[in-house]
Amino acid sequence: MTALLEAGGLAKVFPGRPDPVEILRDISFAVAPEEFVSIVGPSGCGKTTLLMCLAGLLPPSSGWVRFRGQPVTDPPRGVSVVFQDYSRSLLPWKSARENVTLGMRRLGLGRAAARDRAEALLAEVGLAGFEGHFPWQLSGGMQQRVAIARALAAESALLLLDEPLAAVDAQTRADLQDLLRGLARKFRQACLLVTHDVDEAVYMADRVLVLSRRPTRILREVPLALGAERDQIDTRERPDYLAARHEILTLIRAARPEGAGA
């Protein structure tokens, strides 16, 4: 099978003071169509930087990114991002509906069609009745759903999700996890989910990439076979789920600097 997204020898160095800061060192991996890949790594290791390079929003210092075989220099059609800073990623002067239609611009739909589709997507993420609300009238979890709906709106083959569930409470989080997986499957989208939560990484994915501390490399790829249907209770009790979790947590603990706290 040909890869949807490929990265090879990706590196990013920021010009810092007094010395340049090396964030990413030699990242190579691929994502297949409709595959769900999680990336776990300690905070500050460069996960957001990596996603921005993959999305064509930030030029890497060296290495390459290809999407559907084409080199990525600008944001390609067919890739959507849910930004980590979701509350700031919504346009505060636009309603939830208008924020979602923004995601469809590249589809070239008519006004009415775009509007209908935006409302359908908002209903899909549980925001029926809130179409006319502005972002600042919505709770954090609801804003996040709008951002997710906007990313889904583009009918992208690939969703890049930057810690999309970090700021919501446990119950909402579980609901949104299942929603995201369900919608990605329904729309046959590949997902690259960045998270610092090992349980979430394993629960959601077909494969987990574990990142090192800076300068960041891929420590290990952990393949999973948890099946297409996941269940918040049953999946998390499966022996292979627990084994993968154990493996990843052990890896992360071993990579921690001496004397670091919990």
Partner: protein
């Protein structure tokens, strides 16, 4: 309801304070007349048509001037944002001219431009253009980078980005500059009228003051106050139209 009640209450409070000062006789009554005397003076100026004429002269200069100068200032800000070399020139000019008070400009302008509309246009533009220009330039340069990324993901080129993301995001700051410019446009017009001494509220204020016609001076002050408030309300309406979301958002955060 409360929106109407508040200004009425404020006016009532002002009148009560005024009367209190008059009764306490802190200032000789000759220089601080009772409200009724001021109202009378104002009425007689209206009866003679003097008040309307002055309000029209000053108001048209200040309002047209403010509209024109804000549009030009924002336009220059947009142009400077697109052309960094223009921006460097304009920023230098702004740094030199911005601190010059209107009163310092008028005497020279009287000789060069006469007493007509050219003088007012010149003075208002010179002292008023910088707040909207500087606000536009700084706000357009400070767009939240996440929003720029969102725009790029949506496939926006530079023009669409400006129109759909940067300009709306900049509106609250730009309109704060507009509000300030509108205030100083009125000040600039009044000061120019005082110095040129031909017509307008500024001229009348000086004339009545030198003739020691104190109630009329106060009546004119109220008239300027009302004109200024009306201009402020107009700016507020524009603000609600273009950046109402910002007010509402702040209101919720507070």
């Amino acid at each position: 309801m409360t929106a109407l009640l508040r200004p009425v209450l404020a006016l009532g409070l002002l009148a009560a304070l005024w009367q209190a000062v008059v009764w306490a006789a802190v200032v000789p009554e000759r220089y601080f007349p009772p409200i009724a005397t001021v109202v009378q003076a104002g009425m007689s100026m209206i009866a003679r048509g003097q008040m309307q004429q002055a309000l029209f002269d000053t108001g048209s200069r200040a309002i047209l001037g403010a509209i024109a100068v804000n549009l030009i200032g924002i336009g220059l800000g947009l142009a400077a944002t697109g052309a960094p070399s223009l921006r460097r020139i304009l920023d230098t000019v702004a740094a030199i001219l911005q601190p010059v008070p209107p009163a310092a400009v008028v005497p020279m302008a009287v000789f060069a431009l006469g007493l007509g509309w050219k003088l007012y246009a010149f003075v208002v533009v010179l002292v008023t253009i910088w707040p909207p220009y500087l606000a536009t330039v700084s706000a357009l340069a400070a767009t939240n980078p996440v929003l720029l990324s969102v725009g790029r993901m949506a496939g926006f080129g530079p023009v669409a980005m400006l129109w759909h993301i940067r300009l709306p995001a900049a509106m609250p700051e730009i309109l704060a500059g507009v509000r300030y410019a509108t205030t100083i446009a009125l000040i600039a017009v009044i000061v120019s009228e005082m110095i040129t001494g031909r017509d307008g509220i500024g001229f009348l204020l000086f004339q009545k003051a030198f003739a020691i016609r104190i109630p009329e001076v106060f009546a004119l002050m109220f008239a300027v106050g009302l004109l200024g408030s009306a201009m402020g309300l107009a700016v507020s309406a524009v603000y609600r139209g273009f950046a109402g979301w910002h007010l509402a958002q702040r209101g919720r955060a507070a």
